[in-house]
């Protein structure tokens, strides 16, 4: 096959991977900071997808315009969820927490099934059919926009964690739990903010992903798993790792789809997960605890 085909597929994979990376960033904040294993991460993104697609269906709004309002909305939902429902589970045995999130995931995906039925839905935008030429590369406009938006959102998140007081406080907690307590940070509030940020990422990623895929109530679990794979490969606690991991997975899946069968794409991701868990559990950039 011509080199340009590989290049195009690779470029497309990288751009999609940026969106995955944003989703994984959200999980990184939730799992890495609040230490909550969000087994409902993918389902939350499914909800974001539905929100965006329905808004488009009803009022014709381009998903990219909904990015910020959706992220804000999801932030509030996440904050409330953590503060209200999940907080008591922080001191319970691990498996209780997992099961809680699994239950939330079940409720979300079946709720979606109940409300919207099993048929796939998507947006149809004019620019989804356009491509831009960059030398030998022919890139879909929609994918380009989605990837760039993901990059921008990630940058915003980086900035928040590097520059804002709350961001620094959250990172301080992630680095040293006791230290944060000593300094007198209101942990419940911090946890809730961190969780909210995580869900905000998911909301944003959903808006971007709507440009690329159709949604059904059952897409959740696959994305949950994907998010975990990316976070583990990139390294828990590493923001750069999550983004890079996303790109890597996007690339690997795209190329696997080309070289192997499209339906076997995920097997590559799982294979990578298994390898990483066994050989380098701290991931590419994570720290060994």
């Amino acid at each position: 096959m011509a080199a340009s085909v590989y290049l195009n597929v690779a470029a497309s994979g990288i751009l999609t991977g940026l969106v995955y990376g944003l989703m994984a960033l959200g999980l990184n904040v939730i799992f890495g900071v609040v230490r909550i294993v969000n087994f409902a991460h993918g389902e939350m993104m499914m909800v974001a997808l539905y929100a965006v697609i329905l808004a488009w269906s009803a009022w014709g709004i381009d998903p990219l315009w909904l990015l910020i309002p959706l992220a804000a909305c999801f932030f509030l939902i996440g904050y409330g969820l953590q503060r209200g429902l999940i907080n008591p589970f922080m001191t319970r045995p691990e498996h209780s927490q997992f099961i809680l999130l699994v239950a939330i995931g079940m409720i979300l995906s079946n709720g979606a099934l109940l409300l919207f039925g099993p048929e796939a839905r998507g947006v149809q935008l004019a620019y989804q059919l356009d491509s831009i030429e960059f030398g030998p590369l022919l890139i879909d406009k929609a994918r380009l926009y989605a990837g760039l938006a993901a990059l921008a959102a990630s940058a915003a998140l980086f900035a928040f964690f590097r520059l804002s007081r709350t961001g620094l406080a959250i990172r301080a907690y992630a680095d040293s739990q006791r230290g944060a307590l000593v300094v007198g940070l209101d942990l419940r509030h911090l946890f809730a903010i961190a969780f909210g940020l995580g869900t905000a990422c998911v909301g944003a990623a959903g808006a971007m992903l709507s440009l690329l895929i159709d949604v059904t109530p059952s897409v959740g679990p696959a994305y949950t798993l994907l998010a975990f794979i990316i976070v583990i490969i990139g390294g828990l606690g590493s923001f750069g790792g999550a983004l890079l991991g996303g790109v890597l997975i996007g690339l690997a899946e795209a190329l696997a789809g080309l070289i192997l069968l499209p339906s076997m794409k995920s097997m590559v991701s799982f294979g990578l997960l298994i390898l990483v868990l066994l050989l380098r559990p701290q991931g590419l950039f994570g720290r060994r605890t």
Partner: protein, 328 residues
């Protein structure tokens, strides 16, 4: 037998006998529809109890347990359809293969000290990997599904027959699993598993080869789950990778023990009964109202799971047992 009944209060034994009697005569007293609901209930009790062995005893959270049930179904079905080897022989073979799969996962995980959430993710990944693999495995039907030929006449040797056959088969399996778990709980293995669950390092300091016992838990759990999987495959007569190995299935399988009570003997059965009752009740209500509500049962199950894990983290059984004074 005496050892098994050692510390059990009289009251509990009578209750158990009564329950057994009830279950034995049930098929004669219920409608065919209810009978098939009972078959499913017993299936969930069996696989739930098998999963419970790993989780309740050794504390290993498997979220990809459908892998073993699916293997149980596919292997036995393939042996029968392609080689004419009947399920009574096929089931143990399938169980062995499932045990091997569990052993591989366990060996990899335990050797590399993968625990907690990472272990759970590993189990999910293996199940998904297998699902996709089977979708391309045309020898057993691939994504289109694998069909077992239905026979005109009942034939217990090839497990061809109506719900009654499967009901008693699953009831027997449930009873055996129950006795097995009871036996294990009062044995050295059971004690060691609990020690591992409580504190691995302390267990090691007491001479317990943790890896060995964890492997034992996972392989035994896998093999027993596969038995249930074989039976249910021959009941439904159609297998598909998505259904057999899917995440939905893995979650479904563990609802009963989670709701009923992890680590207890009766938890899985109680949970299966409660959820079946709830499910049938919902189905009846929806039918009566004449509307279509896909996903409602699962939604309600999700809510029940949420409530249980929030308010009754040890499941329904411990609280119930205390009320009925069936356990000390």
């Amino acid at each position: 037998m005496n050892r098994l009944l050692d510390t059990v209060p009289r009251r509990a034994i009578w209750a158990l006998v009564a329950l057994l009697a009830l279950l034995l005569v049930a098929p004669a007293a219920v409608s065919p529809y209810l009978l098939s609901a009972l078959v499913l209930m017993l299936y969930f009790a069996c696989v739930g109890q098998s999963w419970n062995l790993m989780m309740g005893f050794a504390g290993l959270l498997s979220l990809g347990h459908a892998l073993y049930a699916g293997l149980g179904g596919y292997v036995a079905a393939a042996l029968w359809v392609h080689f004419g080897i009947g399920p009574w022989l096929g089931a143990p073979v399938a169980a062995l293969i499932a045990a091997a799969a569990g052993g591989v996962i366990g060996a990899l995980a335990f050797r590399f000290r993968v625990g907690g959430v990472y272990f759970a993710l590993l189990t999910i990944a293996f199940a998904e990997f297998t699902r996709i693999g089977f979708e391309h495995f045309d020898w057993v039907g691939g994504a289109g599904g694998f069909f077992l030929p239905v026979a005109a006449q009942a034939d217990p040797i090839d497990l061809r027959g109506g719900p009654i056959l499967f009901y008693y088969l699953l009831l027997a399996l449930t009873a055996c699993l129950f006795l097995l778990c009871r036996g294990l709980s009062t044995s050295r293995i059971g004690y060691y598993w609990i020690a591992i669950r409580e504190d691995e390092e302390a267990a090691r300091a007491l001479g317990i080869d943790v890896t060995h016992y964890k492997l034992l838990a996972i392989t035994l759990s896998a093999a027993l789950t596969a038995l249930g999987g074989t039976i249910i495959a021959f009941y439904g007569n159609v297998l598909s990778p998505g259904d057999a190995f899917g995440a939905q299935r893995s979650i479904e399988m563990i609802l009963a023990p989670l709701v009923g009570g992890i680590g207890t003997l009766f938890g899985p059965l109680l949970g299966a009964a409660a959820l079946s009752l709830l499910g049938e009740g919902l189905r009846w209500a929806i039918d009566a109202a004449g509307i279509q509500l896909p996903g409602l049962t699962q939604l309600v199950y999700g809510v029940v799971l949420l409530l249980v894990v929030r308010f009754l983290p040890h499941g329904i059984w411990p609280a119930l047992a205390r009320r009925l004074r069936l356990e000390r």
